[in-house]
């Protein structure tokens, strides 16, 4: 008996198998992928931390130049090269093209010697030192601070404690209210014994966090993503992009045990930052002290930091100059998607330029 549909499906599978076989060859030819693209130089280092300054873009228009330098504070989870993954997927390059003077903190890979680092070490020791170096290098008192994801939360704490050093604050996919219904990671953390976790693991393994992140959407992230790869496995460029992204996703530093414990207990479980009860190094972290202009950028389909975790910032900060930008995309798309490349750097540069002329 002839069945048209089954014939079609058989053809589909044969085609898939053939494409797959050719794709395997392409995969073998890709070799190792390169990461990071914009020229930069190391201007400071301390412990595992390295501070970079990116070379100015040759195509930047002089009159568009933003006077105040911008320091990017990335998260401790995953690596900061996501901000400059490749020439056509580089938020940093797009910012340089628009005349920004960009500095980036790379927190490095913590090891056993870092297991007792606390949030205060990052907010009151490392970050202030980087701000000092950026300020001294460029001859300004105040800098523009761009905090990304967890780095945004750290930046908020810093801006609340040392507002006199921050001219403008930009937060990108930054959680501030961790107790919203959409926040699945918070729900999963609720019953975890964090003291025991930090005590037993020392530094919390990056692989463990990755597995939890994959667990947020297991069918898509463990299966469909790799099946979809077959659609463009014969395209060397697309394959390289895919492998580059895989590298970034699974290149996850371990989290310093005590820092992780404090972050998860104080900020996630107890929501101290949003409640105004967070204390670091004996000082209250009051977001009402964040009176400088604030631009809050979040992604509408972010499954890691849902918009509901970022939006409350407006009511929590003391700034009268608050702007929000909702990007239509996800947590990763906001760095690398084509629309993000067009939309986000332009929004940041324009917003900063408007405030650059002000005293």
């Amino acid at each position: 008996m002839t069945n048209v549909d089954v014939d079609k499906i058989q053809r589909e599978m044969q085609e898939f198998s053939q494409r797959f076989a050719r794709g395997i060859g392409a995969l073998a030819d890709v070799g190792s992928v390169t990461l990071g693209s914009a020229p930069k130089e190391q201007i400071y280092s301390q412990d595992k931390l390295v501070l970079y300054r990116y070379s100015p873009s040759e195509t930047a228009v002089r009159k568009d130049r933003v006077r105040v330098p911008m320091l990017i504070c990335y998260a401790l989870v995953n690596r900061p090269y996501m901000m400059d993954l490749q020439p056509d997927r580089s938020l940093i390059r797009r910012l340089l093209d628009r005349g920004l003077d960009v500095f980036l903190i790379d927190w490095g890979y913590p090891d056993g010697a870092d297991r007792y680092l606390e949030i205060s070490d990052y907010v009151q020791r490392y970050l202030p030192k980087c701000v000092d170096v950026v300020a001294a290098t460029t001859g300004v008192e105040k800098i523009n601070l761009l905090g990304v994801c967890q780095g945004g939360t750290l930046s908020l704490c810093y801006a609340a404690l040392q507002p006199e050093r921050v001219r403008n604050l930009i937060t990108m996919v930054t959680p501030v209210d961790f107790r919203t219904p959409e926040n699945l990671l918070t729900k999963w953390t609720e019953h975890v014994d964090l003291d025991q976790l930090a005590s037993a693991t020392g530094n919390v393994p990056g692989e463990m966090l990755n597995a939890l992140f994959l667990g947020l959407m297991p069918f898509r992230l463990n299966s469909q993503k790799y099946v979809d790869l077959m659609d463009h496995i014969e395209d060397p460029r697309a394959l390289e992009n895919f492998l580059r992204m895989e590298k970034w996703i699974f290149d996850s530093p371990d989290q310093p045990g005590e820092m992780f414990r404090q972050f998860m207990q104080w900020l996630v479980k107890e929501n101290r930052l949003a409640k105004g009860t967070l204390q670091l190094g004996g000082r209250a972290v009051d977001l009402k002290n964040v009176r400088m202009p604030v631009l809050n950028i979040f992604a509408s389909q972010d499954h890691l930091v849902p918009p509901s975790a970022s939006r409350p910032l407006q009511k929590l900060v003391g700034s009268r100059d608050y702007s929000a930008h909702e990007f239509k995309g996800g947590h990763i798309g906001i760095y690398v998607s084509g629309s993000a490349q067009r939309e986000i750097p332009e929004r940041i540069a324009r917003w900063l330029r408007e405030r650059d002329a002000e005293k």
Binding site: D132, H191, A200, Y226, F250
Partner: protein
């Protein structure tokens, strides 16, 4: 046309039945690598692809191969705690065996107690792991039920005429079923219980290993931790003794533009 649609549903039903069979077999065998007998061509096709890909694709961070079994979602989730390096531990099994033979009295009382705690932690870990595995297995069965329902609802107006469409729909159903579970309090508790039990097991294991290391005067993690704490305290004292550098220098607050300063610095 009706006849054609009937055949379309047939192959989908067959695929879903095969998936159920595979899941049931995996559940019985408790062997993550076990596969159902690949009787139908759909399954064979997919497995051939998986094997080819598994040989060539780069490995993920936790050492697992994501494409190795695109249907084994539960195993991937359990990997979160497995990455702590505890499951399938022969050491824990040895502990359990030893316990059967050693009474917790006399000179070796403390060590025996340590092994007993280790074995108890291992047993608890396995029990919770089994519970979570059952829950995740149910997600996969429920996803197939939902898939059947969706296929029926689409009917002749929107027939599924490619394996890829069916696969994508299966993923959608899986995520929907899983999302409801993942947001539930019971799942959060169960997953946390497994995490806590895993960490207890790890701590017990560390204690037993450290005891052994001390017998040979070898350094332990506890000793390293003490050193790191002391270094941290000393460093803090040193920084407090140094003058603060963080305050901005007022002299820099001139009207001079940084552009000129940068240019001047470059000339130097």
């Amino acid at each position: 046309m009706k006849d054609r649609q009937t055949h379309t549903d047939d192959w989908i039903d067959e695929w879903i039945a095969r998936q159920r069979e595979t899941l049931a077999q995996n559940a019985n065998q408790r062997d993550q690598g076990a596969q159902a007998n690949p009787a139908d061509f759909l399954r064979r096709w997919f497995e051939a692809g998986q094997r080819s890909f598994a040989d060539a694709a780069p490995r993920s961070g936790d050492g697992s191969q994501p494409f190795a079994d695109p249907f084994n979602v539960g195993g991937a989730l359990l990997g979160a705690w497995a990455s702590a390096g505890l499951f399938h531990s022969s050491l824990a099994q040895q502990a359990s065996d030893v316990l059967d033979r050693l009474p917790p009295i006399g000179l070796a009382r403390e060590q025996t107690e340590g092994w007993r705690e280790l074995a108890a932690a291992h047993a608890q870990c396995q029990q919770i792991e089994n519970e979570l595995r059952s829950v995740l297995l149910k997600v996969q069965f429920d996803a197939l039920d939902l898939l059947s329902e969706r296929v029926r609802k689409r009917g002749a107006s929107e027939p599924i005429d490619s394996f890829r469409t069916l696969y994508d729909l299966w993923v959608e159903c899986g995520e929907q079923v899983y999302s409801e579970l993942a947001h539930s309090e019971s799942y959060a508790k169960l997953q946390a219980e497994l995490g806590n039990a895993t960490m207890r097991l790890r701590s017990r294991m560390q204690s037993v290993i450290e005891h052994g290391l001390k017998q040979f005067d070898l350094p332990t993690r506890s000793e390293l931790n003490s050193l790191h704490r002391q270094i941290r305290e000393l460093r803090g004292q040193l920084e407090q003794a140094q003058p603060a550098k963080s305050a901005p220098a007022k002299k820099r607050a001139t009207r001079k533009t940084p552009r000129k300063r940068v240019a001047k610095a470059r000339r130097r």
